[in-house]
Symmetry: C2
Subunit: 125 residues, 2 copies
């Protein structure tokens, strides 16, 4: 079985959910494109999952626990499960990624979990 | 304690690791900017973690288990822990996000884990 699965999210659809497309087992990842001044129509929180958002392009606002923050390209923010959140695009629309993972689920990472292999890619030879 | 932490990765540094900056507990997320024709100098795999990559901009190549695939903006791909991988930028450089999570760690998500709250953001009133 292949260790690899790939797609492209270039189509400017409102929302693509990658969990089922890529058979993800540790995260749900969505790519979201809100039109100018568009918004998610409700405030939400989570039971067990923390969310990391990455702003690809555009501008907008984040509502979080009663506060409003302006969003700009390459902003990254994490929200703990209980945070009450909603997002609205500004005049430029807003494209962002949302990564949903179970809080506390990561054990090792990078140096602890990675293994450097002896095999070489063609450009290493 | 705040349910929220934010940073900006606009500075075009080679690599930013968000785990410690944002106190992530379910993922390590890195934002990577390889210069034109730059590459990660080794092939690696993982013990327990699957990785999801998202290409922000530029072009390049992925080496995966002996295969080479061309990379384009908005490509998303998942690699299971055992996949042997390396990435190289093309002539345009390559900016990408890498999301590292423990394989099999996600329990519920979206409709199963999300809670719609009664409170409203200002734009909902």
């Amino acid at each position: 079985m292949s260790n690899f699965k790939k797609t492209n999210v270039g189509a400017n659809v409102p929302r693509i959910e990658l969990h089922d497309i890529l058979n993800l087992t540790g995260a749900e990842v969505t790519v979201n494109n809100l039109p100018a001044n568009g918004s998610v129509p409700f405030v939400h929180s989570h039971k067990k999952n923390e969310e990391l958002y990455f702003v690809i392009s555009g501008n907008g606002q984040l509502y979080i626990d009663g506060e409003i923050l302006e969003l700009h390209p390459k902003d990254c923010f994490v929200i703990n499960p209980l945070g009450k959140r909603a997002i609205k695009a500004g005049d430029s629309g807003l494209s962002f990624i949302c990564i949903q993972v179970k809080e506390g689920s990561l054990e090792g990472f990078t140096m602890n979990d990675g293994i450097i292999n002896e095999e070489k890619a063609p450009w290493m030879k």
